[in-house]
């Protein structure tokens, strides 16, 4: 560059810098920008299990029925009404009229039949097909009537049909897009239409202006008030927090470090909504492993863990200590679980370990027959598990147990657990009814996974099966009380805590009510709006 010809660069550079640093230009009106740590793999409801996928499903599609905010009431969805036969084995759904897919094709009973058949077809290999296992036959009686015939009475069919994985699809779109369906193309009947997906960066949907068939659990039945919803994928806790807090790119997130909550609650530009979900975090013992086969060791661990510290010190009080396997906000809870649960009592834990023959060694860690009491715990390297385990590690060291943390990526852990290499695992599970968690985890037919504890109790098996079909409400409660009792008494778990969630949003976001089902938080965003 010749001298003197560059006089203009100074101002231009300065202008450019000013432009870059100026307040963000992306403050488009009525756009909700959600911050998430990870992306979904697909939004084909039959290919996914993740919470982050489920919350998109509710907004892209509709289901036959919906589960209300209380996790108990079943409310209409695409089915205006439904009839259950006296023996409980036939369900007849009357579909709403005038419902159209985003592509314009009207919804018919044949689409519903196609969807549910695809869900349970082994060739689809849906990871959630067990949710519809009790269905024997699906019939489209006419264009707006669907009949489901069951093998047996079911207490949970409607719960499962309300899940996002039961979203109703357009067969034409599935056929047309083949393997690209769910990633490059989506066609649903939901309040938002698929717009753009830059994998691991952003997922964008825009308002479906024709939508008028929203479920009655929302004030606004459609179309949605929001122009557009963007899910932004931000794996780093810190950057997610800063972008939300400073209003530079996010206006809501459920995944903010708990340590920041006391500060954020005071921020007038933000609103922090705390709410309960049906969820339990636990330590589960693998009964196939010799070290934990002795119930005294399992009980000692139960007594040695101070759950209050986990809740209060790591998660800043956002939740409650868990006594049994079932969340207290879910129906079927055993009333007296707290009385039977293992209280924090390190002296008792030490006594139990002494009794089991484990005596303190030179470094304080217990020894038996020359073997140190070293217990590996498998957990996901995220979602607060590393912190929880570090605290438990310190608590168990106190009674002479050496905990080794085996932290794995979320994607890698399932295979390792399935191979049964774990002695103890720390994990969490969302649930809306007792079957969803107790049958899943404690029925012996579900070994080696999801019954990764190899828990076998024929009485529990029989009770769980009866619980699915029993009609009498009192008997139903008795069944699940007995199951919880047996699970707690066997000490196959050390239940840790029931987390609550916090949804942190910009004060400009209006009427966003978190939904606890499947821990999704964002059900249909019909009522939500974002002010200037």
């Amino acid at each position: 560059m010749r001298r003197g010809s560059g006089w203009w660069t100074g101002p231009v550079v300065a202008g450019l810098l000013a432009m870059l640093v100026a307040p963000p230009a992306h403050a488009q009106p009525n756009t909700l920008i959600i911050g998430q740590p990870t992306d979904a793999e697909s939004v084909d409801p039959h290919k996914v299990t993740a919470v982050i996928a489920a919350e998109r499903l509710y907004n892209l599609y509709d289901t036959l029925v919906n589960l209300d905010f209380d996790l108990e009431k079943i409310t209409p969805g695409l089915a205006e009404t439904w009839l259950v036969s006296p023996d409980g084995k036939t369900y007849t759904f009357a579909l709403k009229k005038g419902v159209k897919f985003h592509s314009g094709k009207p919804l018919t009973a044949h689409d519903v039949k196609f969807t549910l058949d695809r869900w349970r077809d082994p060739a689809t290999a849906s990871p959630t097909k067990h949710r519809i296992a009790e269905v024997e036959e699906i019939l489209a009686k006419d264009d707006h009537t669907v009949v489901l015939r069951l093998k047996e009475r079911s207490n949970y069919l409607l719960f499962n049909l309300a899940s996002g994985f039961a979203s109703i699809l357009n067969p034409e779109a599935i056929k047309k897009h083949g393997a690209n369906y769910g990633t490059l193309a989506v066609d649903g009947t939901g309040p938002f239409r698929f717009k753009e997906w830059v994998l691991r960066d952003r997922f964008v949907v825009e308002r479906n202006p024709d939508y008028t068939w929203g479920p009655p659990m929302f004030k606004n039945r459609g179309p949605a008030k929001l122009e557009r919803v963007v899910w932004r994928i931000i794996p780093e806790d810190t950057t997610r927090l800063f972008e939300l807090e400073k209003g530079i790119g996010l206006n809501v997130s459920r995944w903010i470090a708990f340590s920041e909550l006391p500060r954020l609650r005071k921020d007038p530009k933000l609103r922090v909504l705390e709410y309960k979900v049906g969820y339990v975090v636990y330590l589960g013992f693998n009964m196939n492993k010799e070290l934990v086969q002795d119930i005294r060791i399992r009980k000692a661990i139960n007594h040695a863990i101070k759950k209050d510290d986990i809740v209060n010190e790591i998660f800043y009080g956002l939740g409650a200590p868990a006594q049994g396997p079932l969340s207290p906000i879910v129906a079927g809870q055993w009333k007296d679980v707290a009385k039977a649960a293992y209280e924090y009592n390190p002296a008792k834990a030490r006594a139990l370990l002494d009794e089991a023959g484990w005596k303190p060694g030179p470094d304080g860690i217990r020894v038996k027959d020359g073997k140190r009491l070293k217990l590996p715990v498998h957990a996901i390297a995220g979602y607060g598990y590393p912190d929880t385990l570090t605290l438990i590690q310190a608590q168990l060291k106190d009674v002479g147990i050496d905990v080794e943390q085996v932290l794995l990526e979320e994607a890698a852990i399932w295979g390792r657990l399935k191979a049964g290499e774990h002695t103890i695992m720390a994990m969490g599970m969302p649930h809306s009814n007792p079957d969803e968690i107790l049958m899943f985890y404690f029925h012996s037919k579900n070994r080696p996974a999801p019954n990764r504890f190899n828990f076998v109790d024929p009485k529990v098996d029989q009770l769980l099966e009866e619980g699915r079909t029993v009609a009498d409400q009192k008997r139903w409660q008795e069944i699940y009380t007995e199951v919880q009792k047996r699970v707690v008494e066997s000490a196959v778990w050390a239940p840790l805590w029931h987390p609550d969630r916090a949804m942190i949003m910009s004060a400009k976001v209006q009427d966003l009510r978190p939904h606890p089902v499947y821990d999704v938080g964002y059900h249909k965003l019909l009522d939500v709006s974002v002010g200037r």
Binding site: E245, A257, D309, L407
Partner: protein, 287 residues
């Protein structure tokens, strides 16, 4: 590594030693390293607290007389953790460079002395160099599973090509020299030639490369731990400590900063020493 190839044909001995002693920066680096090594060896004595002792009542404290560098989210004393972490980081560096040095020189000598082995070894090194070292390390960790020991292996394998190339080229150049030919004519075995001529001649550049590789290895291992692929909690590895602290940088930036500074100091010391060694062993650069 073009700067290193110049370090050929050194004149080892008192000259280099004198030059090194006069290099104040290198001496500062060496002195600082000595202190760190002592601290690492005597960590249990030097550190004021147990590095893994959780004390929730004292968590997230800024530096104070009681905790010189403050505490982390579990109330653990950061200074004690950094002192114990010195053990880990120095061990990681030594072991992974040891792997690189051992494997690399062996392969380099084989490649330099046996024509038939030269192509496959060189080709393998080309492959290893054809993707970023950190990606290679991550892939190896993915295969072996995360953990401090596997991280050392991964970082060590990453340093192999540099050592191989260095040894190979000095072996190639030396085997053609007259005195080597003469020794061979007198019936000296390959082993004798390697021990007697090749290794002593490659020693100086190997020392320089080794020192600089220590810096790189410690940094690489810290990055692996930062990405969650190296040390496991509650191990006070510096990269892992920085990673744990990054969630708190809004209110407590010291948690991530102090371990990062520790990495910085060690790497700097090795770099200073490595630079000094190179200058001392390679008078060509010093006019």
């Amino acid at each position: 590594m073009t700067e290193l190839t110049r370090a050929r044909d050194p004149r080892p001995g008192s000259d280099a030693g004198r030059r090194l002693r006069r290099d104040r920066a290198a001496m500062a680096g060496a002195g600082c390293l000595l202190v760190l090594i002592l601290a690492a060896v005597f960590a249990p004595v030097v550190a004021p607290y147990d590095p893994t002792k959780v004390s929730m009542r004292e968590r997230l404290q800024p530096p104070s007389p009681k905790h010189a560098l403050g505490t982390d989210q579990f109330g653990r004393d950061i200074l004690s953790r950094i002192i114990h972490g010195a053990r880990i980081s120095l061990t990681i560096g030594l072991i992974s460079v040891g792997i690189g040095l051992g494997l690399g020189t062996t392969l380099g000598l084989i490649a330099g002395f046996f024509r038939r082995a030269d192509y496959p070894i060189s080709a393998l090194m080309d492959v290893l160099l054809s993707f970023p070292q950190i990606l290679l390390a991550i892939a190896i960790v993915a295969a072996l599973g995360p953990g401090i020991f596997n991280a050392m292996i991964a970082v060590g394998i990453g340093t192999v090509p540099a050592f191989t190339r260095l040894t190979r080229s000095s072996a190639l150049s030396i085997r053609e020299r007259e005195y080597v030919e003469a020794a061979r004519a007198l019936g000296a075995s390959n082993r004798r030639i390697i021990v007697r001529y090749v290794l002593p001649n490659s020693l100086a550049p190997l020392v320089v490369l080794g020192t600089l590789s220590l810096a790189a290895a410690i940094l690489a291992a810290a990055i692996l731990s930062f990405l969650g692929l190296g040390a496991r909690p509650p191990m006070p590895e510096w990269g892992a400590m920085a990673a744990e602290g990054r969630g708190f940088i809004a209110q407590f930036p010291h948690i991530a900063t102090f371990p990062s500074l520790a990495i910085f100091v060690v790497v700097l010391c090795f770099n200073l020493l490595g630079d000094g060694l190179r200058d001392a062993l390679d008078p060509h650069l010093r006019e």
